[in-house]
């Protein structure tokens, strides 16, 4: 581990805290379409109408059309459930049929949200069960070596499973099902099993369930628990988080900044969504993965290294605000320095070790080279080998394996096999690295780490002064600028009315607070 000036680290953390706190004001004052849909999901509403529109969308659209979403779906639903005695799902079906008008149940004052407890309790119970299942499956596991994380992205859930089974047989610890291009811009979560995706597979509750089952089976055969990952970032962040919690995902890509920068999603919308989604994941004990690594695909990995560090500090504070335990914060970073650069390995090492030192409890998510991967698969193997060495030598936790065909196609089964074998080999060969070597306190690596930390500190103070929204507008992350009024999904943001309530989030927060105090 690095010896760093703890005052600088504290100063970073404090600045990030203020930055997050400032954004939290906006978060607390608003709700969004997907948050309301998430509440419905966690009250037991699932399925779709005759036109494949998810029932949760039907209900929220219905309120937007006939009522006032700023009051929240609970405001309408609580009394409807109480008066009709129907479940939220039954009501949703009735709304879809045009048989019920929910806005009839409007009321001038806050409604009694506990009327929904009967609907909510079994859902939270399911999440707790899933959480327990994971915990008990993992309880004997001593997390020593990095966990090998590979993606499947065939577009067809059945092929994804085929590929995942092979990966598990060859030693993968974590399987991520990449989403089809464009799903993050959909303002609904598609339904059913799907066989047609591009660069990934639709994240649907059925697909996730099927893959979960396949991994449980394959894991049983392999004698270990295999983790499943999907993506929440996008216009349905909290909904996918809820589905993940119900279906026992173990990790969730969850980062507003990714959506803002790379998907042009409105920042207000997604910061608000992110908060609830992280509360859900914290409650479900699901590790989140943040997306700082992506910055380095558009910005230079050496010059802009400190933006990754700064963003990690901010993401840590956002997660803390959602009462997430540090051991669930899979902050992202990456091995993306130009291989032409002198001492590239040493600079990568510095960056990786800096992250490990500053966030000792976080299971950092370490991304392989992508940007400088080319059609030269033989060079690609060498690049991935160096990355694997940095991973093992600096003691990273979540080890995303690089694919030799990164520049060509989403991974073939054999690409993954080659990657897994390489990772195994490097892991064995370098196991005792940290015992064998000491960092030269005046050497290149220590110097570089200090430099990056200092730059991160300075950036954080700048952002603290100008505010997060302005910082994004100035293109401080990934060299991409986005403004507050721009971007997809803004129309789905609503200021909360005085009667607004979110009993699901409240219940989760109560539990989380108790746990944290306990």
């Amino acid at each position: 581990m690095l010896k760093l000036d703890s005052k600088i680290v504290e100063s970073c953390r404090e600045a990030a805290r203020v930055i997050a706190e400032d954004v939290q004001k906006t978060i607390d004052a608003h709700t969004t379409d997907t948050i309301e849909r998430t509440i419905l999901r966690l009250l037991g509403v699932d399925g779709a109408d005759a036109f494949d529109v998810p029932l949760v969308n039907v209900v929220i659209d219905h309120i937007k059309e006939k009522g006032d979403l700023s009051k929240g779906v609970v405001h309408y639903l609580a009394n409807a459930v109480a008066e009709t005695g129907a479940t939220p799902k039954a009501l949703a079906l009735a709304i879809a049929e045009g048989d019920v008008d929910l806005t009839r149940y409007d009321a001038p004052e806050k409604v009694d949200a506990s009327l929904l407890d009967d609907a909510m309790a079994p859902m939270l119970q399911t999440i707790k069960k899933q959480r327990l299942k994971r915990l008990s499956a993992l309880k004997d596991k001593t997390a020593s070596a990095p966990e090998k994380y590979v993606i499947v992205a065939t577009g067809n859930i059945h092929e994804d499973i085929e590929q995942a089974i092979s990966a598990v047989a060859l030693g993968a610890d974590i399987i991520a099902v990449i989403r089809t291009t464009g799903q993050s811009l959909l303002d609904y979560v598609p339904e059913g099993l799907t066989r047609e995706g591009f660069g990934g597979t639709y994240a649907t509750q059925d697909n996730i369930r099927l893959m979960r089952q396949a991994l449980d089976d394959a894991g049983k055969e392999a004698g270990r628990y295999v983790k499943l990952v999907n993506y929440a970032s996008g216009l349905c962040m909290p909904e996918i988080a809820a589905i993940g919690a119900l279906e026992r995902l173990d990790m969730m890509l969850n980062d507003s900044l990714y959506g803002i920068i790379f998907r042009d999603i409105n920042m207000k919308r997604t910061f608000i969504d992110q908060y609830f989604s992280r509360v859900i994941s914290a409650y479900a004990d699901i590790t989140i993965n943040t997306g700082e690594d992506n910055y380095l695909t558009t910005a230079d990995a050496f010059d802009e290294a400190h933006t990754v560090t700064a963003s990690q500090f901010i993401n840590e504070q956002f997660a803390a605000k959602a009462h997430m335990d540090r051991r669930l914060m899979g902050l992202g970073h990456a091995y993306e320095i130009d291989p032409e650069k002198e001492n590239s390995f040493l600079y990568e090492y510095a960056q990786a070790l800096l992250a490990r030192t500053v966030f000792p409890d976080a299971p950092l998510k370490y991304m392989p080279p992508t940007k400088y991967m080319s059609g030269d698969i033989f060079k690609g193997v060498a690049q991935n080998t160096l990355f694997n060495i940095a991973t093992v030598a600096t003691g990273q936790k979540i080890h995303l394996l690089g694919m030799l065909t990164e520049a060509i196609h989403t991974p073939f089964m054999s690409d993954r096999a080659i990657a897994l074998e390489n990772a195994d080999y490097v892991e064995r060969a370098f196991r005792g690295f940290q015992d064998a070597f000491i960092l030269n306190p005046d050497g290149l690596i220590v110097e570089r780490a200090k430099e990056v930390l200092a730059e991160a500190e300075s950036l954080l103070h700048t952002i603290k002064a100008e505010g997060m929204f302005a910082a994004i507008a100035k293109g401080r992350f990934a060299n991409v600028s986005r403004t507050l009024a721009q971007g997809k999904g803004l129309s789905g943001v609503t200021p909360k009315h005085a009667v607004y309530q979110n009993p699901v989030m409240d219940a989760m927060l109560t539990t989380l607070k108790e746990e944290n105090d306990g």
Binding site: A153, G155, I165, S166, A169, L170, T181, G182, L185, E196, G197, F198, G199, F262, R263, D264, T297, T298, G375, A407, H409, T410, F412, M413, S414, A417, E421
Partner: protein
């Protein structure tokens, strides 16, 4: 040693015309001697009758990965080949600028985007933005050029709208995600849109991306296609020459 290219070219390992070649693939067969024969049989059909399986690895019980080396019996005569390139001899930035100054009355308007659900902007930015890529400045920096970059995830409809609004001469489209040929669908849809709106002849329409080349672009109804290691100067060269040929905005 005679180094002049012969007519019938074969791959080369360490002896002229030895035909040496490396192949790898996965077969949905279990890892056994029969699978190895299947791999060799496929190689034989490919024209590698003597292939050696140097490696086979189980990917799971039903799949095996094979690496093969062998001798290719096929030959190719390069003189019979046609090279589909948008521009044979591209001009430099300065030459393009001089060409514009010398041939056109007005500045040339390029509008570009990464379309559909494609969120990859690095390619289109490489062509259009000031900074460029790998030491090649982008169109924004060219005198005589106006470059409007709409970014990524732009609908075909919106792209056409903006092109009309800005009276663009050239429409630049970038496509990076190609899995299951999604780019073909999306690119075809844009040409159909142009035709449906009767606007196909109002623009040069050019496409680029990691898996794009000129031949594919032409096939899809585009005026040109560009791929890896091609930069702003290549596109600009093609476009100014072609616009001039079409008599657009040229001096009378």
């Amino acid at each position: 040693m005679d180094r002049s290219p012969s007519v019938n070219i074969r791959p080369y390992g360490d002896t002229k015309n030895d035909g040496k070649i490396q192949i790898s693939f996965t077969l949905p067969l279990k890892n056994d001697a029969l699978g190895e024969e299947a791999a060799k049989a496929l190689a034989a059909k490919m024209g590698v009758p003597d292939a050696h399986v140097t490696h086979r690895k189980s990917l799971d019980e039903q799949y095996t990965f094979y690496i093969l080396y062998g001798t290719l019996t096929h030959v190719v005569d390069p003189s019979t080949l046609h090279v589909p390139l948008a521009t044979e001899a591209a001009m430099t930035k300065e030459e393009v600028e001089a060409f514009i100054a010398g041939h056109f009355q007005e500045e040339i308007v390029f509008i570009g985007a990464s379309t559909g659900t494609d969120a990859h902007t690095v390619g289109i930015d490489a062509i259009m933005n000031m900074k460029g890529y790998a030491g090649h400045y982008g169109l924004e920096r060219y005198s005589g050029v106006r470059a409007i970059n709409l970014g990524s995830q732009v609908d075909n409809e919106r792209l056409l709208e903006e092109a009309l609004k800005h009276e663009a001469d050239v429409i630049l489209i970038s496509q990076t995600v190609t899995q299951k040929n999604i780019h073909i669908q999306n690119l075809t849809a844009f040409i159909e849109l142009l035709e449906a709106e009767g606007r196909r002849d109002d623009f040069l329409v050019v496409v680029g991306g990691a898996r794009i080349n000129h031949a594919l672009a032409k096939e899809l109804g585009y005026d040109a296609g560009f791929g890896p290691k091609q930069y702003a100067a290549d596109v600009a060269s093609f476009c100014v020459v072609e616009l001039h040929r079409r008599g657009r905005k040229t001096f009378t």
